[in-house]
Symmetry: C2
């Protein structure tokens, strides 16, 4: 996995440094791309490709595009008018370093560039690429991640039902995770049955990811998660432990992990790495 | 032209209203899309298609995508941390109505959706669509419109050289106008010679557009342009009249119009509508 991470990070840096753009833009884009992170999405994409025994080069462009979209969403979410966060992974957020205007533009540029990267990829056919563009925009726009963030903002400072909470997470986090897995499968030429299984796998994985996030906000180690413990409670955010009790949330986490693995097993592919990632997501400490 | 405008406006409304997204997102997106405007970019795209005698339906998706990208850029440019504008075309700007957070998200959603629209278009082949996605992202991202906006912000409150001013306008406005024309030509199956001529045409048109913008900021009628006269001077913006004198700017405008028309004539296509648009751009009063 760390090899995958390195390859994607190098490729992203190469792509940004080659841009014919004002230096300030490249610096602001690079700052957040290099701010660490688990690179979960690119790793999921490449792990799905490897379940088919496909060479990873076919997924490299899509993996970079995916991480850039994820990074843009963090930059915009951190802005003063949104979540107003000064720190992200223990480092000053983009707008703290470059100012709000350039942070907004860096996000816009990363979002836009990710579609350019998908389109310019020479490893895949136009048919595959256009499917990826369509799915990525659907998963990351108003019907996906951006819609989830809007619903999250609207739900602030009031109690949500479990259904509302799941809508937010499904869209805000789940759909981009879903793209990560399904994009790998599309590139590998998956059957429609396999695509369905991978989609279901990713949605369970996404909910598991979010439940663990909520648990860490209460039981986590501040030095590992890079932000204050208890911020959800302080910000009156609805969370799984709040809605289900801590034991209930942990039970729910287990259920989603089990379902996710069941879906994987049904593909009858070489899913060892994807299972490993699933366990890491559920057991991570940051 | 007004028929083209109506078709594009109806299609955009249809597309947004069909989105499975939080109502607030759809309202914020629609608010700015419906705030009027000349629809110059979609009209240019459809006029280029019609120079080939192609049916306009082939360009409708791209025309909508284009207007959505343009609209997103206006929403983000108007934000307090950018140009801090309260009015746009005589109406409150998006963040004045929906707040900054939803304005940022509405922009993000429009940008993202435009790629979805291009990809989902059933009128064109994957080969054509992937060329459009690549060109649109290049023209609107860090190497185009977003880069131009960044350079514009960096150039505030200092005098620019004519070269710096042209870099800003070429990127901030010119490249999306270039996409408008070239996308129409790509859809129509233009030769590479024709693509070059259309690209050169559009770049001259873009500079003519910007010079007239600067002239209107001094000589325009406030009731027609929907914003205060003299705002460039108040904001210490570098402009063509400031750099070249008013007579020099008007001379430059004429030159770009003449060059633009020369490029059109060399295509030997049915360019009547494109010539008409060129004159309108140079002579417009708002």
């Amino acid at each position: 996995m760390s090899a995958h991470r390195d390859v994607v990070e190098k490729e992203m840096n190469k792509k940004i440094s080659g841009l014919a753009a004002p230096e300030i833009m490249k610096e602001a884009m690079t700052y957040s791309l290099q701010a660490g992170g688990k690179r979960l999405r690119p790793i999921l994409l490449l792990a799905t490709l490897s379940a088919y025994g496909e060479k990873l080069g076919k997924g490299l462009a899509a993996a970079c595009a995916l991480e850039m979209i994820h990074t843009y969403s963090l930059i915009h979410d951190d802005l003063p008018s949104m979540d107003n966060d000064d720190l992200r992974r223990g480092k000053p957020t983009n707008h703290k370093v470059f100012g709000e205007a350039f942070a907004i533009l860096a996000g816009d540029a990363l979002l836009t560039y990710s579609f350019q990267i998908l389109a310019a990829d020479e490893e895949n056919t136009p048919e595959i690429k256009i499917r990826l563009v369509e799915l990525l925009s659907k998963c990351s726009g108003a019907e996906g991640m951006v819609g989830g963030q809007a619903a999250d903002l609207q739900g602030e400072n009031r109690s949500l039902t479990l259904e509302e909470l799941e809508y937010i997470h499904l869209n805000k986090t789940g759909k981009l995770l879903m793209f990560s897995v399904v994009a790998g499968a599309i590139i590998a030429g998956a059957s429609s049955k396999e695509l369905q299984l991978f989609e279901a796998f990713a949605l369970h994985l996404g909910l598991a990811f979010q439940i663990q996030d909520d648990i860490l906000d209460i039981e986590g180690d501040v030095s590992k998660i890079g932000k204050p413990i208890g911020s959800d409670t302080t910000n009156h955010k609805s969370t799984y432990p709040a809605l289900l009790t801590m034991d209930g949330a942990k039970e729910k986490l287990k259920e989603h992990v089990a379902e996710a693995k069941k879906m994987l097993a049904q593909t009858r592919l070489d899913i060892g790495l994807l299972e490993e990632i699933t366990d890491l997501v559920a057991q991570r400490d940051h």
